[in-house]
Protein backbone atom coordinates (compact mmCIF):
# COMPACT_ATOMS: atom_id res chain seq x y z
CA UNK A 1 0.00 0.00 0.00
CA UNK A 2 1.22 3.50 -0.72
CA UNK A 3 2.10 5.72 2.24
CA UNK A 4 -0.87 8.02 1.51
CA UNK A 5 -3.32 5.11 1.70
CA UNK A 6 -1.69 3.88 4.93
CA UNK A 7 -1.92 7.38 6.38
CA UNK A 8 -5.60 7.73 5.47
CA UNK A 9 -6.34 4.27 6.85
CA UNK A 10 -4.65 5.15 10.16
CA UNK A 11 -6.51 8.46 10.40
CA UNK A 12 -9.77 6.64 9.66
CA UNK A 13 -9.07 4.16 12.50
CA UNK A 14 -8.75 7.05 14.98
CA UNK A 15 -11.83 8.79 13.60
CA UNK A 16 -13.85 5.57 13.65
CA UNK A 17 -12.80 4.86 17.26
CA UNK A 18 -13.94 8.31 18.40
CA UNK A 19 -17.17 8.20 16.42
CA UNK A 20 -18.05 4.76 17.77
CA UNK A 21 -17.34 5.95 21.31
CA UNK A 22 -19.47 9.04 20.81
CA UNK A 23 -22.35 7.12 19.26
CA UNK A 24 -22.30 4.86 22.31
CA UNK A 25 -22.38 7.76 24.79
CA UNK A 26 -24.14 10.42 22.67
CA UNK A 27 -24.02 13.13 25.34
CA UNK A 28 -21.55 15.30 23.43
CA UNK A 29 -23.75 15.35 20.31
CA UNK A 30 -26.84 16.07 22.41
CA UNK A 31 -25.03 18.92 24.19
CA UNK A 32 -23.91 20.42 20.87
CA UNK A 33 -27.38 20.23 19.29
CA UNK A 34 -29.02 21.75 22.38
CA UNK A 35 -26.38 24.49 22.44
CA UNK A 36 -27.00 25.27 18.74
CA UNK A 37 -30.73 25.70 19.34
CA UNK A 38 -30.27 27.67 22.55
CA UNK A 39 -27.77 30.04 20.99
CA UNK A 40 -30.34 30.91 18.31
CA UNK A 41 -32.90 31.60 21.01
CA UNK A 42 -30.45 33.75 22.95
CA UNK A 43 -29.49 35.79 19.90
CA UNK A 44 -33.20 36.07 19.02
CA UNK A 45 -33.89 37.57 22.44
CA UNK A 46 -30.87 39.86 22.19
CA UNK A 47 -31.72 41.17 18.70
CA UNK A 48 -35.45 41.44 19.39
CA UNK A 49 -38.26 39.56 17.63
CA UNK A 50 -38.61 40.21 13.89
CA UNK A 51 -35.72 42.67 13.86
CA UNK A 52 -35.74 44.27 10.37
CA UNK A 53 -31.94 44.56 10.38
CA UNK A 54 -31.35 40.91 11.24
CA UNK A 55 -29.33 40.27 8.05
CA UNK A 56 -26.62 42.61 9.34
CA UNK A 57 -26.14 40.42 12.40
CA UNK A 58 -26.71 36.93 10.97
CA UNK A 59 -23.11 36.22 9.78
CA UNK A 60 -21.64 37.17 13.17
CA UNK A 61 -24.39 35.31 15.07
CA UNK A 62 -23.80 32.11 13.08
CA UNK A 63 -20.02 32.12 13.32
CA UNK A 64 -19.93 33.03 17.01
CA UNK A 65 -22.32 30.12 17.65
CA UNK A 66 -20.14 27.80 15.53
CA UNK A 67 -17.06 28.95 17.44
CA UNK A 68 -18.68 28.05 20.76
CA UNK A 69 -19.89 24.72 19.34
CA UNK A 70 -16.22 24.15 18.54
CA UNK A 71 -15.20 25.07 22.10
CA UNK A 72 -17.50 22.34 23.41
CA UNK A 73 -15.69 19.73 21.33
CA UNK A 74 -12.16 21.10 21.90
CA UNK A 75 -12.50 20.52 25.63
CA UNK A 76 -12.84 16.78 25.09
CA UNK A 77 -11.10 15.70 21.89
CA UNK A 78 -7.61 15.05 23.32
CA UNK A 79 -8.27 15.79 26.99
CA UNK A 80 -10.48 12.69 27.21
CA UNK A 81 -7.55 10.47 26.17
CA UNK A 82 -5.38 11.99 28.90
CA UNK A 83 -8.01 11.82 31.64
CA UNK A 84 -8.83 8.18 30.99
CA UNK A 85 -5.20 7.19 30.54
CA UNK A 86 -5.65 6.15 26.90
CA UNK A 87 -3.00 8.59 25.71
CA UNK A 88 -0.23 6.03 26.30
CA UNK A 89 -2.15 3.58 24.12
CA UNK A 90 -2.22 6.18 21.35
CA UNK A 91 1.50 6.85 21.78
CA UNK A 92 2.35 3.17 21.59
CA UNK A 93 0.03 2.40 18.67
CA UNK A 94 1.83 1.88 15.33
CA UNK A 95 0.16 4.99 13.92
CA UNK A 96 1.94 8.15 12.81
CA UNK A 97 1.30 11.22 15.02
CA UNK A 98 0.08 13.15 11.99
CA UNK A 99 -2.55 10.45 11.30
CA UNK A 100 -3.68 10.64 14.94
CA UNK A 101 -4.02 14.40 14.60
CA UNK A 102 -5.87 14.09 11.30
CA UNK A 103 -8.33 11.57 12.80
CA UNK A 104 -8.97 13.81 15.82
CA UNK A 105 -9.37 16.95 13.67
CA UNK A 106 -11.85 15.10 11.40
CA UNK A 107 -13.80 13.99 14.48
CA UNK A 108 -13.98 17.62 15.74
CA UNK A 109 -15.00 18.72 12.24
CA UNK A 110 -17.83 16.17 12.13
CA UNK A 111 -19.11 17.19 15.59
CA UNK A 112 -19.06 20.85 14.56
CA UNK A 113 -20.84 20.04 11.28
CA UNK A 114 -23.58 18.20 13.20
CA UNK A 115 -24.08 21.30 15.36
CA UNK A 116 -24.07 23.57 12.29
CA UNK A 117 -26.64 21.40 10.50
CA UNK A 118 -29.02 22.15 13.37
CA UNK A 119 -27.85 25.73 13.84
CA UNK A 120 -28.37 27.16 10.34
CA UNK A 121 -31.90 25.90 9.48
CA UNK A 122 -33.20 26.71 12.98
CA UNK A 123 -31.67 30.20 12.81
CA UNK A 124 -33.32 30.74 9.39
CA UNK A 125 -36.69 29.97 10.99
CA UNK A 126 -36.19 31.74 14.32
CA UNK A 127 -34.38 34.84 13.03
CA UNK A 128 -36.44 34.95 9.82
CA UNK A 129 -33.84 35.26 7.05
CA UNK A 130 -32.56 33.24 4.10
CA UNK A 131 -29.43 33.01 1.96
CA UNK A 132 -30.08 34.53 -1.43
CA UNK A 133 -27.05 32.93 -3.07
CA UNK A 134 -26.29 29.50 -4.46
CA UNK A 135 -26.47 27.01 -1.56
CA UNK A 136 -23.36 25.17 -2.77
CA UNK A 137 -21.42 28.38 -2.07
CA UNK A 138 -22.95 28.55 1.41
CA UNK A 139 -21.81 24.97 2.05
CA UNK A 140 -18.33 25.74 0.68
CA UNK A 141 -17.86 28.78 2.96
CA UNK A 142 -19.09 26.94 6.05
CA UNK A 143 -17.12 23.73 5.37
CA UNK A 144 -13.86 25.64 4.87
CA UNK A 145 -14.39 27.86 7.93
CA UNK A 146 -15.39 24.95 10.19
CA UNK A 147 -12.44 22.87 8.94
CA UNK A 148 -10.05 25.68 9.90
CA UNK A 149 -11.57 26.05 13.36
CA UNK A 150 -11.52 22.25 13.86
CA UNK A 151 -7.82 22.01 12.91
CA UNK A 152 -6.73 24.88 15.20
CA UNK A 153 -9.02 23.72 18.02
CA UNK A 154 -7.77 20.12 17.89
CA UNK A 155 -4.20 21.32 18.19
CA UNK A 156 -5.08 23.58 21.14
CA UNK A 157 -6.91 20.63 22.74
CA UNK A 158 -3.75 18.51 22.32
CA UNK A 159 -1.62 21.20 23.97
CA UNK A 160 -4.14 21.74 26.75
CA UNK A 161 -4.13 18.08 27.82
CA UNK A 162 -0.91 18.78 29.75
CA UNK A 163 -2.48 21.67 31.68
CA UNK A 164 -4.57 21.46 34.85
CA UNK A 165 -6.98 24.37 34.21
CA UNK A 166 -8.00 23.25 30.71
CA UNK A 167 -11.40 24.94 30.62
CA UNK A 168 -9.64 28.29 31.10
CA UNK A 169 -6.67 27.74 28.83
CA UNK A 170 -8.52 26.43 25.74
CA UNK A 171 -10.47 29.64 25.03
CA UNK A 172 -7.44 31.77 25.98
CA UNK A 173 -5.31 29.99 23.38
CA UNK A 174 -7.81 29.35 20.60
CA UNK A 175 -9.67 32.69 20.50
CA UNK A 176 -6.63 34.76 19.43
CA UNK A 177 -5.72 32.22 16.71
CA UNK A 178 -9.16 31.75 15.22
CA UNK A 179 -9.86 35.33 13.95
CA UNK A 180 -7.55 34.50 11.02
CA UNK A 181 -10.32 32.31 9.68
CA UNK A 182 -13.33 33.73 11.54
CA UNK A 183 -13.15 37.21 9.99
CA UNK A 184 -13.02 36.01 6.33
CA UNK A 185 -15.80 33.49 7.07
CA UNK A 186 -18.06 36.19 8.56
CA UNK A 187 -17.34 38.52 5.63
CA UNK A 188 -18.08 35.77 3.06
CA UNK A 189 -21.31 34.77 4.86
CA UNK A 190 -22.38 38.43 4.91
CA UNK A 191 -21.88 38.62 1.15
CA UNK A 192 -23.84 35.38 0.64
CA UNK A 193 -26.84 36.78 2.53
CA UNK A 194 -26.76 39.66 0.02
CA UNK A 195 -27.03 37.60 -3.19
CA UNK A 196 -23.28 37.46 -3.89
CA UNK A 197 -21.81 35.22 -6.59
CA UNK A 198 -18.60 33.21 -6.31
CA UNK A 199 -16.43 36.07 -7.68
CA UNK A 200 -17.35 38.22 -4.69
CA UNK A 201 -16.20 35.71 -2.09
CA UNK A 202 -12.99 34.52 -3.77
CA UNK A 203 -10.68 36.75 -1.62
CA UNK A 204 -12.21 35.31 1.58
CA UNK A 205 -11.99 31.74 0.26
CA UNK A 206 -8.34 32.32 -0.68
CA UNK A 207 -7.57 33.67 2.80
CA UNK A 208 -9.28 30.72 4.46
CA UNK A 209 -7.49 28.25 2.22
CA UNK A 210 -4.13 29.92 2.90
CA UNK A 211 -4.86 29.80 6.64
CA UNK A 212 -5.72 26.10 6.42
CA UNK A 213 -2.55 25.24 4.48
CA UNK A 214 -0.41 27.26 6.88
CA UNK A 215 -1.92 25.59 9.94
CA UNK A 216 -1.68 22.09 8.49
CA UNK A 217 1.98 22.72 7.59
CA UNK A 218 2.80 23.93 11.13
CA UNK A 219 0.93 21.05 12.74
CA UNK A 220 2.50 18.49 10.43
CA UNK A 221 5.96 19.52 11.61
CA UNK A 222 5.23 20.05 15.30
CA UNK A 223 2.52 17.60 16.37
CA UNK A 224 4.84 14.72 17.24
CA UNK A 225 6.48 16.97 19.88
CA UNK A 226 3.06 17.49 21.48
CA UNK A 227 2.12 13.83 21.57
CA UNK A 228 5.33 12.19 22.76
CA UNK A 229 6.88 12.90 26.16
Amino acid sequence: MSSVVVFLKEAWEILFKDLRLELRRRYEIYAIVIFALLSNLSFGFALGPLNPNVLEFVPAVLWISILFIGMLSFTTVFVREMDKGYIDGLRLAPISPQAIFMGKACYTFILMCVGTVFLIPSSMVLLNYSFHSDYSLVVLVFVLGILNIAVVGSMISALAMYVESRALIIPALSLPLIPGTLVPSILATGKLTAKAQIEAIIPELQLNLAFLLLMVAVLWITFEYVLYD
Binding site: E164, I169, P176, L177, P179, G180, T222
Partner: protein, 215 residues
Protein backbone atom coordinates in the same frame (compact mmCIF):
# COMPACT_ATOMS: atom_id res chain seq x y z
CA UNK B 1 32.55 45.56 33.46
CA UNK B 2 32.38 45.02 29.69
CA UNK B 3 28.67 45.68 29.79
CA UNK B 4 29.06 49.26 31.06
CA UNK B 5 30.32 50.80 27.75
CA UNK B 6 27.50 48.96 25.92
CA UNK B 7 24.93 50.35 28.33
CA UNK B 8 26.42 53.83 28.01
CA UNK B 9 26.23 53.58 24.19
CA UNK B 10 22.57 52.49 24.29
CA UNK B 11 21.77 55.28 26.76
CA UNK B 12 23.51 57.84 24.52
CA UNK B 13 21.68 56.71 21.35
CA UNK B 14 18.33 56.89 23.16
CA UNK B 15 19.21 60.34 24.54
CA UNK B 16 19.99 61.53 20.99
CA UNK B 17 16.73 59.94 19.79
CA UNK B 18 14.75 61.79 22.51
CA UNK B 19 16.42 65.08 21.51
CA UNK B 20 15.55 64.46 17.84
CA UNK B 21 11.96 63.44 18.67
CA UNK B 22 11.05 66.36 20.91
CA UNK B 23 13.31 69.21 19.72
CA UNK B 24 15.03 68.57 16.38
CA UNK B 25 12.21 67.11 14.22
CA UNK B 26 9.90 69.81 12.79
CA UNK B 27 6.12 69.77 13.50
CA UNK B 28 4.06 67.81 10.96
CA UNK B 29 1.86 69.85 8.55
CA UNK B 30 -1.57 68.53 9.56
CA UNK B 31 -1.03 66.95 13.02
CA UNK B 32 1.38 69.53 14.47
CA UNK B 33 3.36 68.28 17.48
CA UNK B 34 0.90 65.46 18.25
CA UNK B 35 2.51 63.29 15.57
CA UNK B 36 5.66 62.85 17.73
CA UNK B 37 4.07 59.82 19.38
CA UNK B 38 4.74 58.13 16.01
CA UNK B 39 8.48 57.99 16.91
CA UNK B 40 7.66 55.75 19.86
CA UNK B 41 4.76 53.87 18.24
CA UNK B 42 6.51 52.63 15.09
CA UNK B 43 9.78 51.45 16.75
CA UNK B 44 7.74 49.67 19.47
CA UNK B 45 5.70 47.87 16.81
CA UNK B 46 8.88 46.81 14.97
CA UNK B 47 10.50 45.63 18.22
CA UNK B 48 7.41 43.62 19.21
CA UNK B 49 7.57 41.82 15.83
CA UNK B 50 11.31 41.23 16.37
CA UNK B 51 10.67 39.88 19.87
CA UNK B 52 8.01 37.47 18.63
CA UNK B 53 10.32 36.39 15.78
CA UNK B 54 12.94 35.54 18.44
CA UNK B 55 10.28 33.58 20.36
CA UNK B 56 9.47 31.70 17.15
CA UNK B 57 13.14 30.99 16.40
CA UNK B 58 13.87 30.01 20.01
CA UNK B 59 10.89 27.64 19.99
CA UNK B 60 11.97 26.07 16.71
CA UNK B 61 15.57 25.63 17.91
CA UNK B 62 14.38 24.13 21.21
CA UNK B 63 12.40 21.49 19.34
CA UNK B 64 15.45 20.73 17.17
CA UNK B 65 18.11 20.65 19.91
CA UNK B 66 16.23 20.30 23.26
CA UNK B 67 18.69 22.82 24.79
CA UNK B 68 17.01 24.80 27.62
CA UNK B 69 18.73 28.04 26.57
CA UNK B 70 16.45 28.29 23.50
CA UNK B 71 13.38 27.97 25.70
CA UNK B 72 14.79 30.79 27.82
CA UNK B 73 15.21 32.96 24.72
CA UNK B 74 11.66 32.14 23.58
CA UNK B 75 9.96 32.90 26.91
CA UNK B 76 12.02 36.01 27.77
CA UNK B 77 11.51 37.47 24.32
CA UNK B 78 7.75 36.80 24.51
CA UNK B 79 7.49 38.77 27.79
CA UNK B 80 9.29 41.74 26.23
CA UNK B 81 7.28 41.43 23.02
CA UNK B 82 4.10 41.69 25.08
CA UNK B 83 5.39 44.84 26.80
CA UNK B 84 6.37 46.47 23.51
CA UNK B 85 3.09 45.52 21.83
CA UNK B 86 1.27 47.08 24.80
CA UNK B 87 3.26 50.28 24.18
CA UNK B 88 2.34 50.00 20.48
CA UNK B 89 -1.35 49.68 21.34
CA UNK B 90 -1.33 52.59 23.81
CA UNK B 91 0.63 54.98 21.58
CA UNK B 92 -1.41 53.85 18.56
CA UNK B 93 -4.63 54.71 20.41
CA UNK B 94 -3.30 58.19 21.24
CA UNK B 95 -2.30 58.73 17.62
CA UNK B 96 -5.67 57.39 16.42
CA UNK B 97 -7.50 59.85 18.69
CA UNK B 98 -5.56 62.76 17.17
CA UNK B 99 -5.62 61.58 13.54
CA UNK B 100 -8.96 59.76 13.26
CA UNK B 101 -10.98 61.17 16.19
CA UNK B 102 -11.38 58.01 18.30
CA UNK B 103 -9.05 56.03 20.53
CA UNK B 104 -10.32 52.78 19.04
CA UNK B 105 -11.57 52.59 15.43
CA UNK B 106 -11.65 48.82 14.87
CA UNK B 107 -9.11 49.39 12.16
CA UNK B 108 -7.67 46.03 10.93
CA UNK B 109 -4.15 46.96 12.11
CA UNK B 110 -5.38 48.03 15.57
CA UNK B 111 -7.52 44.93 15.96
CA UNK B 112 -4.91 42.48 14.67
CA UNK B 113 -2.29 44.00 17.00
CA UNK B 114 -4.65 43.51 19.94
CA UNK B 115 -5.15 39.87 18.82
CA UNK B 116 -1.36 39.49 18.64
CA UNK B 117 -1.03 40.88 22.17
CA UNK B 118 -3.72 38.51 23.49
CA UNK B 119 -2.22 35.50 21.66
CA UNK B 120 1.13 35.98 23.41
CA UNK B 121 -0.58 36.64 26.76
CA UNK B 122 -2.22 33.23 26.21
CA UNK B 123 1.25 31.79 25.46
CA UNK B 124 2.56 33.11 28.79
CA UNK B 125 -0.44 31.91 30.80
CA UNK B 126 -0.05 28.49 29.13
CA UNK B 127 3.58 28.34 30.26
CA UNK B 128 2.56 29.22 33.81
CA UNK B 129 0.00 26.39 33.85
CA UNK B 130 2.59 23.60 33.32
CA UNK B 131 4.74 22.80 36.33
CA UNK B 132 7.19 20.27 34.90
CA UNK B 133 10.09 22.15 33.28
CA UNK B 134 11.00 19.91 30.34
CA UNK B 135 7.38 19.33 29.35
CA UNK B 136 6.63 23.05 29.65
CA UNK B 137 9.53 23.91 27.36
CA UNK B 138 8.57 21.31 24.73
CA UNK B 139 4.86 21.99 24.55
CA UNK B 140 5.33 25.78 24.80
CA UNK B 141 7.79 25.60 21.90
CA UNK B 142 5.01 24.17 19.73
CA UNK B 143 2.68 26.95 20.86
CA UNK B 144 5.44 29.52 20.26
CA UNK B 145 5.54 28.41 16.63
CA UNK B 146 1.74 28.25 16.33
CA UNK B 147 0.99 31.74 17.74
CA UNK B 148 3.57 33.31 15.41
CA UNK B 149 0.83 33.07 12.74
CA UNK B 150 -0.61 36.21 14.41
CA UNK B 151 2.47 38.26 13.39
CA UNK B 152 2.04 38.11 9.59
CA UNK B 153 -1.71 38.46 10.17
CA UNK B 154 -1.06 41.74 11.99
CA UNK B 155 1.58 42.96 9.54
CA UNK B 156 -0.40 42.21 6.36
CA UNK B 157 -3.81 43.21 7.79
CA UNK B 158 -3.48 46.61 6.13
CA UNK B 159 -2.89 44.90 2.79
CA UNK B 160 -5.79 42.42 3.04
CA UNK B 161 -8.50 44.70 4.45
CA UNK B 162 -9.48 48.34 3.86
CA UNK B 163 -7.82 50.45 6.49
CA UNK B 164 -7.11 53.96 7.73
CA UNK B 165 -3.60 52.91 8.78
CA UNK B 166 -0.69 53.61 6.39
CA UNK B 167 0.35 50.60 4.31
CA UNK B 168 3.65 48.88 5.17
CA UNK B 169 6.66 49.66 3.00
CA UNK B 170 6.98 45.93 2.29
CA UNK B 171 5.32 44.55 0.13
CA UNK B 172 3.70 47.75 -1.20
CA UNK B 173 7.15 49.26 -1.91
CA UNK B 174 5.91 52.80 -1.43
CA UNK B 175 6.00 55.21 1.48
CA UNK B 176 2.51 56.65 1.85
CA UNK B 177 3.41 59.45 4.22
CA UNK B 178 4.74 62.57 2.52
CA UNK B 179 7.36 63.39 5.12
CA UNK B 180 10.31 65.64 5.69
CA UNK B 181 13.70 63.80 5.48
CA UNK B 182 14.46 64.92 9.06
CA UNK B 183 11.38 63.03 10.23
CA UNK B 184 12.62 59.87 8.50
CA UNK B 185 16.06 60.30 10.08
CA UNK B 186 14.47 60.77 13.53
CA UNK B 187 12.44 57.60 12.96
CA UNK B 188 15.59 55.68 11.98
CA UNK B 189 17.49 56.83 15.09
CA UNK B 190 14.58 56.17 17.46
CA UNK B 191 14.11 52.69 15.91
CA UNK B 192 17.79 51.94 16.43
CA UNK B 193 17.59 53.21 20.03
CA UNK B 194 14.51 51.16 20.93
CA UNK B 195 15.92 48.03 19.21
CA UNK B 196 19.18 48.26 21.15
CA UNK B 197 17.25 48.89 24.36
CA UNK B 198 15.16 45.76 23.69
CA UNK B 199 18.25 43.62 23.00
CA UNK B 200 19.86 44.92 26.20
CA UNK B 201 16.78 44.12 28.33
CA UNK B 202 16.54 40.69 26.67
CA UNK B 203 20.17 40.00 27.57
CA UNK B 204 19.52 41.08 31.18
CA UNK B 205 16.32 39.02 31.44
CA UNK B 206 17.99 35.85 30.14
CA UNK B 207 20.91 36.31 32.55
CA UNK B 208 18.49 36.91 35.42
CA UNK B 209 16.59 33.67 34.67
CA UNK B 210 19.88 31.76 34.28
CA UNK B 211 21.05 32.96 37.68
CA UNK B 212 17.68 32.17 39.25
CA UNK B 213 17.87 28.62 37.91
CA UNK B 214 21.48 28.25 39.07
CA UNK B 215 20.49 29.28 42.60
Amino acid sequence: MKSQPTLAGIFLINLVALYMIFIWAPPEKSLGDFYRVFFIHTPSAWVSYLAFAITFSGSFLYLKTAKPIWDLYASSSAVLGILFSLVTLLTGSIWAKVAWGLYWNWDPRETSTLILFLAYLGYLSFRMAIAERERRARVSAVLGILVFVSVPLSYFSTVFWSTLHPMPLLPTNRLQLAVDPSILLTLAVSTLGVTLLFLWILYLTINMYRLTEAI
